[in-house]
Amino acid sequence: MDKIRESILTTSRASKLERRGKIISLTCLGGICLVVVAIFGFIAYRGLMTFTSDHVSIIKFLTGTEWNPSVSKNGAPLVGALPMIAGSFLITILATVLAIPFAIGTALMMTDITPKTGTRILQPVLELLVGIPSVVYGFIGLTVVVPAIRTVFGGSGFGILSGTFVLFVMVLPTITSMTVDSLSSVPKDYRSASLALGATRWQTIYKVVLRSATPGILTAIVFGMARAFGEALAVQMVVGNATLMPYSLVAPASTLTSVLTTGIGNTVMGTVQNDALWSLALILLLMSLAFNLAIHLIARRGAMKR
């Protein structure tokens, strides 16, 4: 009796280990959360300085078209971020729109049309594309795409269009591999049922497979957009870095990320120039939050439909 009593009432080695493991995981989790909160807090704090201590109005910041933080006009520095915002959105949307048909086509090839060769050849190719560092993409863009655009459209060759082509190659593997996941999660039974009803393979793909996979494909597209929006180095190398409104696709322009990468090393902490860059970073952060939110919304709506 006493033996049982004793063994039940003393904490065993296993339970101690269990508690220790729990504490370790919680500490790690807490650390990560702290880092995330700190990043948000810091960027928000620095980013809002432009509006609090440098007296720039938020509206002027978002709609102004002149970016020259070292020059003051009417008591406030010239920090109109619209050219960069427009540049970022234009490049992101153009690159994604260009990538969608290629990505879906490639993904269908891998899941439905030639699954064997598709997975044997295209899968490694895609993984390779993901693994190439962005500076290499930028370099290729600089030496191949920019001169090509220069020859075809004239001008310097730097601009939104060059950025679009470079980003297109960079987001293609992201969108494709996620689309593949979504297509292969469509039950095989759907395909069999559709074929057994006298549908052709194309009708099956178009009416059943793509339709069932739509939420997943939308998520893939938003992920691709998020990647395009956040890409800095490769874009900076080909976009021209002129903080002007992008009135033409082949004229030098800039994006939020390209201005940040070119500018952040050349400004002094605490100056207006530096604060303005932090404000751009804040916009980037808010945009990636928005993309994340969109992904969750799509996933939830997709889940409800099922």
Partner: protein
């Protein structure tokens, strides 16, 4: 003698080096239910899927033998698989309605065949759902997602979907094995009504089910057709020892 609608002779099927069917001779009478029975892996489902050429998609499959729907060669050079499948419909083991409305599910086959006339589609939906004995349960929610229905209802939607194309032959691959006994009984009752208009070939693991609904039964074993006769004869007085052993549950 009844009219034979579908005849097969010396059907052989192999995946690479492995022969799964060793020469099956089997014919199906019009407006009858034929049950294919046998232990798992005996080739009955494989054989069934040859009839509407569902095995065509599988890599490395080799099918030989003579398949005739009425007098037309199913594997003939000029045979259009897509057209063929409109004459020989199929219902699968797992209820697999598409993730769309009940209405869209039922008219799927007609729409891919190019029917656009709304009145025609409406009528086809009603007829097919009535034939599948599920009209009363779903008539008020045709625009609801078919996946919201119960398993048994989903399976009957799948039957309706196959019927909407008005096939001559309906193939069923263990249609009730994923369903509860009550839903299974409902499907069986539906099939018995359907044989007035269709020829039904069903694979089943449930011997009682074969005994309840089938006019004729064919017993498969390891890629061979051991015996095919009227259900009564198979269950009461089989010719072969192996059939008797299987029916009485000595193996399988």
């Amino acid at each position: 003698m009844e009219k034979q609608i579908l005849t097969t002779k010396n059907v052989k099927l192999s995946y690479g080096d492995f022969e799964a069917l060793h020469g099956i001779d089997l014919a199906f009478n019009e407006h009858e239910i034929t049950a294919l029975i046998g232990p798992s892996g005996c080739g009955k489902s494989t054989y069934l899927r040859c009839l509407n050429r569902m095995n065509d998609q599988i890599d490395g499959v080799n099918i030989s033998g003579e398949f005739k729907l009425h007098d037309t060669d199913i594997y003939g050079e000029n045979t259009d698989v897509v057209e063929l499948r409109k004459h020989i419909g199929m219902v699968f083991q797992q209820p697999n309605p598409f993730p769309m409305s009940i209405y869209d599910n039922v008219v799927f086959g007609l729409r891919v065949a190019g029917v656009r006339d709304k009145a025609k589609l409406d009528e086809a939906v009603q007829t097919a759902l009535k034939q599948a004995a599920i009209w009363d349960e779903v008539k008020d929610k045709l625009d609801q997602n078919a996946l919201a229905l119960s398993g048994g209802q989903q399976q009957r939607i799948c039957i309706a979907r196959a019927l909407a194309v008005s096939p001559d032959v309906l193939l069923l691959d263990e249609p009730t094995s994923a369903l509860d006994p009550h839903s299974s009984r409902q499907i069986e009752a539906t099939l018995l009504q359907l044989k007035e208009q269709y020829t039904i070939i069903t694979v089943t693991h449930n011997l009682q089910q074969a005994a309840r609904i089938a006019d004729r039964t064919a017993f498969f074993l390891q890629g061979d057709l051991i015996e095919a006769a009227s259900t009564k004869q198979i269950f009461m007085n089989p010719e072969h020892e192996q059939t008797r052993d299987f029916i009485t549950g000595r193996f399988g």
